[in-house]
């Protein structure tokens, strides 16, 4: 607070000196822990209620209506969810989301563990190396995904050029053109981007393991593998669990990677629930149906949150 403000405050207090009791009461009231807390808390809580709470419940409300681009919304109850249950593309997108999340998470977790173990040694330029390895995670996803799209280009992309150049193949595969390859490709890009998050987090976990534990295990005659299994891994499990849960949430609800790379194609083979919700609500103008797709992801999120809460409580 500047001297000017302080002076004006002192003046204000003085001018109200004729009712010092009321002022003192007010000050005492504000100084109470709960009153002070709620005075500060109110603005952010109101903000979150307006821009997170309201949209959420409004989304639930929307999912009970059928609303085409033109025309008034009509109440259909659970009709949108019934429509989805009979929609093969919806089920395909559910299957895709599960496959995508499962495969990418496993690859990221093992790759990240490997990266952390390699990085947990002493070598020169470690800080710079760590910063460089984390780059895929911090560069705007959409921009690096565009680069990947060019890497996957069937004729002139890097992968196929290298394959042809080295004589490994006459013409490379169509990376984004067939259902199986497209799924493999989006999993690859998601892994590339997310692996450093695992690596750096697990590395931070590794650095909290006291050196003495390793030393005493070595004295007891434990080899490298034994030490990894009985000392390193158990103390890393909490970190791995939390990072994996986070990553599952981020991957399960991923939108931009698939939106940019394949748009859900070919033939819906890479549509995730998020991209399907987008194409229904924004592409086809069916807000209610789109909301219903988005809400179908809530149980998964709920389950993961419950798991996480239980785990954190137990720790």
């Amino acid at each position: 607070m500047s001297p000017v403000v302080e002076a004006s405050r002192a003046a204000a207090l003085e001018s109200r000196a004729y009712r010092p009791v009321a002022v003192r009461r007010l000050r005492e009231f504000i100084e109470r822990e709960s009153v002070f807390s709620w005075l500060i808390l109110t603005p952010p809580v109101l903000f979150l209620l307006a821009f997170l709470g309201y949209p959420f419940f409004y989304g639930v409300y929307l999912s009970f209506f059928r609303r085409e681009v033109a025309g008034p919304p009509t109440f259909v109850g659970l009709g949108n969810f019934v429509t989805l249950m009979n929609d093969p593309i919806f089920w395909q997108s559910v299957g895709n989301t599960v496959k995508f999340t499962g495969a990418a998470t496993i690859l990221k977790a093992f790759g990240g563990l490997g990266m952390a173990l390699v990085m947990n040694q002493n070598f020169k330029f470690k800080a710079i190396t760590r910063a460089a390895l984390l780059l895929p995670f911090i560069v705007p996803t959409v921009l690096s995904t565009v680069a990947w799209q060019w890497i996957f280009d069937p004729g002139l992309g890097l992968f196929n050029r290298l394959l042809v150049e080295s004589g490994l193949a006459k013409t490379g595969p169509s990376w984004l053109g067939t259902p199986t390859m497209a799924m493999i490709s989006v999993i690859m890009v998601n892994t590339w981007r997310g692996l450093p998050f695992f690596g750096i987090s697990i590395l931070a976990g590794l650095q909290t393991i006291p050196v003495e534990q390793h030393e005493s295990a070595t004295i007891d005659g434990a080899g490298t593998w034994d030490r990894f299994r009985h000392v390193t891994l158990p103390s890393l499990l909490p970190v791995i669990f939390i990072v994996t849960t986070f990553s599952i949430i981020l991957t399960f609800f991923d939108f931009q990677l698939v939106y940019v790379l394949t748009g859900g194609g070919p033939a819906n083979s890479t549509h995730l629930m998020a991209t399907y919700a987008y194409s229904l609500s924004m592409g086809a103008g069916q807000m209610g149906l789109g909301s219903a797709v988005a809400l179908s992801m809530v149980p998964v999120l709920g389950l993961l949150l419950v798991l996480l809460t239980f785990y954190v409580r137990k720790e």
Binding site: I40, L41, P44, L48, W150, L158, R161, V239, F255
Partner: protein, 281 residues
């Protein structure tokens, strides 16, 4: 003999895997740079080596700046990221401080709510959010994203800052109160200044997230002059089925530079923010 053995062990256990991780992490950026510096003639020549450049040229960069609103997009992105980060730091602090240091009714419930909202993904909310922004008549304004980005950032910042606020000993605050300071003064003059590293971590993290954001920008910003870099590059450099790879890569690279620069200056704080959740639990 022993020296040779450790050398081989270092090679197999450290340098080789490190090289693999490094190449995998960085080759897309090399490819971006190589593409952006080639002329179209060389770019689309199937006989030219893909990763070498025979005739380096800035033509794609010049075209990018001349033919598109790229500089406007950069300015928009910066403005939005700064404002959204500022709002989020302020609201996040107001949320985290009482939760970390005060006892009041409703505190446990509120703490859980903050943790849950932190993990609620965007793709769950974008349909009603688009409707809400439309009704507020904020479509195609930067205010639309300045208002909605904090919904993604505030819970995270609050959560991160709570960890920092808790580390300041209670006695410092009590001493200030005994000395006659109000709670507000104790907070702004004593506690918060001690948490600078927390603010830097939260700020850097929020800033990069805001620069990264795509879905809300895609929904709310369709006019070229209000776009941010991610949505501008994807929305305007991919025209129909034609890809202008040289310009696209120039745009992708230039768009990544500000984030990468800021990140490289504050990498320590960034990593602290990144790992805070996972390691502290």
């Amino acid at each position: 003999m022993v020296g040779e053995l450790t050398w081989r062990k270092r090679l197999l256990g450290l340098w080789m895997p490190l090289a693999v991780f490094g190449v995998v992490a960085l080759f897309p950026f090399t490819w971006m740079a190589a593409t952006s510096l080639k002329t179209n003639a060389e770019l689309y020549d199937p006989k030219a080596m893909p990763l070498t450049i025979r005739h380096p040229s800035l033509v794609h960069y010049i075209d990018l700046l001349r033919e598109t609103n790229f500089l406007t997009w950069i300015a928009n992105t910066m403005l939005v990221a700064v404002v959204a980060t500022g709002i989020s730091l302020l609201l996040g602090t107001m949320l985290a401080y009482p939760l970390a240091r005060m006892r009041f009714r409703g505190a446990p419930l509120l703490a859980i709510t903050v943790a849950v909202t932190y993990l609620v993904p965007q793709s769950l909310l974008f349909v009603p959010m688009a409707d809400l922004i439309g009704r507020l008549k904020l479509g195609n304004t930067l205010s639309a994203v300045m208002l909605t980005y904090p919904t993604l950032l505030v819970p995270f910042i609050a959560w991160l800052l709570m960890g920092y606020f808790k580390t300041v000993p209670k006695e410092l605050e009590e001493q200030a109160l005994i000395d006659g300071a109000s709670r507000w003064r104790a907070m702004t003059r004593v506690i918060l200044p001690l948490c600078m590293p927390g603010f830097i971590s939260a700020g850097i993290f929020a800033f990069t997230l805001a620069q990264n954001e795509f879905l809300y920008a895609l929904l709310f910003l369709s006019r070229s002059d209000v776009r941010t870099v991610p949505i501008g590059v994807v929305g305007e450099l991919i025209r129909g089925d034609a890809f202008y790879w040289g310009q696209l890569m120039a745009g992708a690279l230039l768009g990544s530079v500000p984030v990468a620069l800021i990140y490289s200056f504050f990498v320590k704080y960034y990593v602290a923010g990144l790992t805070a959740g996972a390691v502290k639990g």
